[in-house]
Amino acid sequence: MFQVRIHGRGGQGVVTAAELLSVAAFIEGRHAQAFPSFGSERMGAPIVSFCRIDDHPIRAHEPVIEPDGLIIQDVTLLHQVDLFSGLTPEGYVLVNTPRSVDELGLGSLVGRFHPGRLASCPATQIAQEQLGRPLPNAALLGAFSALTGAVSLDALATAIRQRYPGEVGERNVVAAAAASRAIEPSPSELSRAAAG
């Protein structure tokens, strides 16, 4: 099972991101589950959502405690919330920022995780260019697809088009592809490609 936790703020589409990821996995014929951390949602408040992807039916409905992948939509959360709680040593981290991982000031935290699995992506900037609005979801998920191989870019594009038919969907697909290209393939992705 591959478990993802997404951190952002109310209004940024944290819940939608988890749902899109689950739909992409579903399109690939896998079992997937997406759900928010439930609360009195407010614009700007820290929000968490979750996604599980597996080849078998998923029975548990508890929050993801030990994620294999983290998506951080809002970089201002880095020093406010314990974002890395439970992340497995082999886990992936994707941060929405134009800065590099080294510039984020994560300090000793970086050493705890697999260096090739920490990545940043200027998703908000890509969204501004493609959509004219700061909605980073599609770009972040495109980058996450490239970083982790959890879902394919094709499946993600289909999920985006299903959710946003027409012009808006197409622009989001372009944003996802652009962000995907900007990510160096991780070792696991390379081995997956080699095996495939």
């Binding site: 997406a34 759900f35 951390s37 409905h61 508890e62």
Partner: protein
């Protein structure tokens, strides 16, 4: 069709496929997405003929449905928590009048302190009302149980409540095979009411009944619930024949064949329990799970049979009776009182606290060592309890506990 869809949406689509003629509800989380989607279907005309009636309260919602059902319409609502409490007088009336209303209860805790998250306190508060209460383990089952609920309600002339865990199921997006219209039409015939309020041939229903007959009326209601014990499995089998999958029934046993320990529960927590039990099975422990789908009527015989080999019974409950203990535990205990097994109540997940496989496993490990108390509160913060108890010593009048506990934790509620 198999879709990756939110549980609430799947339930709304399924209810629409059951062709209700009157939908009436008052908004309350976490059922809101269900009624919103049904309202949109009525407005767009995709669910037709159907009247969506806006009302000022849950009490009005159930009262309207009593009228609609008595006039021969297939009637549906959804609510949760305080909303259910606010309609409770009418909830009892719908059962007493024998009206086949179907209601989704998106299970949520009851205040005070106010809490919008999941537990089963709301369902437990109406367990004696005469409604049939079915608990969904998964979103697939939540959708499927609604089709069965209309069938059961109309065959028995009894209202049926489908309980699904608020947020945990209602807000989870999963692969759900939403029952197709053609299958639902083949399974569920149009509603043929046994009695209809009609101005042209006036009758009155809901007569006053005095001491000379009230006990008989209540006993007959009990017998009808016992009839449901036969009908629920039959409808579940018919459903499987039509839809090709198992859903519903009275109870569902998992790896109980030779089990010495059996964990009993209602609703979605069964998923994490099964995960925890699988791990312990691999380590050689003889442990299984019993999911109770039909909470009312309570299937004593089915529970007794499923727990026949159990030496240790652990009932995991998302509710409890303050000053007493487990609610489901009491029923299970009645079913197994002569079996020589030891029963533990594990209260878990109150007010939306996650029930994790990790905590369940730690609890089951203690049980395996015969080190589990008869009444356990899973993941209870004993330090906070101790500090709050100490603070209250000698204070008169005592200050509100909820505010004290929140103060010790240094948090203001709000989740998110």
């Amino acid at each position: 069709m198999l879709q990756q869809v939110e549980g609430s949406r799947a339930v709304a689509q399924t209810v629409a496929a059951c062709r209700p003629e009157v939908v009436c509800a008052y908004p309350i989380s976490p059922q809101t997405h269900i009624i919103e989607a049904l309202g949109a279907s009525v407005k767009s005309g995709s669910l037709s003929p159907c009247e969506f009636i806006n009302v000022e309260s849950e009490f009005a919602a159930m009262s309207v449905l009593i009228g609609a059902s008595a006039a021969g319409a297939r009637a549906y609502t959804a609510t949760a928590s305080q909303g259910l409490l606010f309609m409770i007088e009418a909830v009892y009336n719908a059962a007493g009048l024998g009206l086949p209303v179907v209601m989704t209860l998106a299970n949520r805790a009851i205040g005070a302190p106010i809490n919008i998250w999941n537990d089963h306190s709301d369902a437990m508060s109406v367990r004696d009302s005469g409604w049939i209460q079915l608990f969904a383990e998964t979103n697939q089952e939540a959708a499927d149980l609604h089709v069965q609920a209309f069938s059961l309600a109309e065959q028995l002339s009894l209202p049926v409540m489908v309980c699904m865990d608020g947020y945990i199921l209602t807000h989870a997006v999963e692969g759900i095979d939403v029952p197709a219209q053609s299958d639902v039409d083949a399974f569920l015939p149009a509603y043929q009411p046994r009695q209809v309020l009609d101005p042209d041939t006036p009758i009155s229903i809901g007569a006053m009944v005095g001491p000379e007959a009230f006990e008989e009326v209540r006993y007959l209601a009990h017998l009808r619930q016992l009839d449901a014990l036969q009908l629920i499995p039959a409808v579940s089998e018919e459903f499987e024949a039509q839809f090709g999958r198992q859903s519903g029934g009275l109870v569902r046993a998992y790896r109980t064949e030779d089990a010495e320990t059996v964990v009993v529960a209602l609703g979605s927590v069964l998923g994490s329990i099964k995960d925890a039990v699988d791990i312990r099975r691999e380590a050689g422990e003889r442990i299984g799970v019993l999911g109770v789908t039909s909470f009312r009527p309570f299937p004593f015989e089915a529970v007794r049979q499923a727990l026949a080999t159990a030496r240790r019974i652990i009932v995991v409950e998302r509710a409890f009776s303050i000053g007493f203990g487990g609610v489901l535990s009491t029923d299970v205990s009645m079913a197994t009182h002569d079996g020589g097994s030891r029963l533990h109540t594990v209260v878990a997940g109150l007010g939306g606290r996650p029930v994790t496989s990790r905590s369940l496993d730690a609890m089951l490990a203690r049980a395996a060592l015969d080190d589990l108390d008869p009444l356990v509160f899973l993941d209870l913060d004993r330090d906070v309890v101790k500090r709050e108890r100490a603070r209250l010593v000698g204070t008169r009048p005592p200050e509100p506990t909820a505010d004290g506990v929140v103060g010790w934790l240094g948090t203001a509620s709000g989740g998110g």
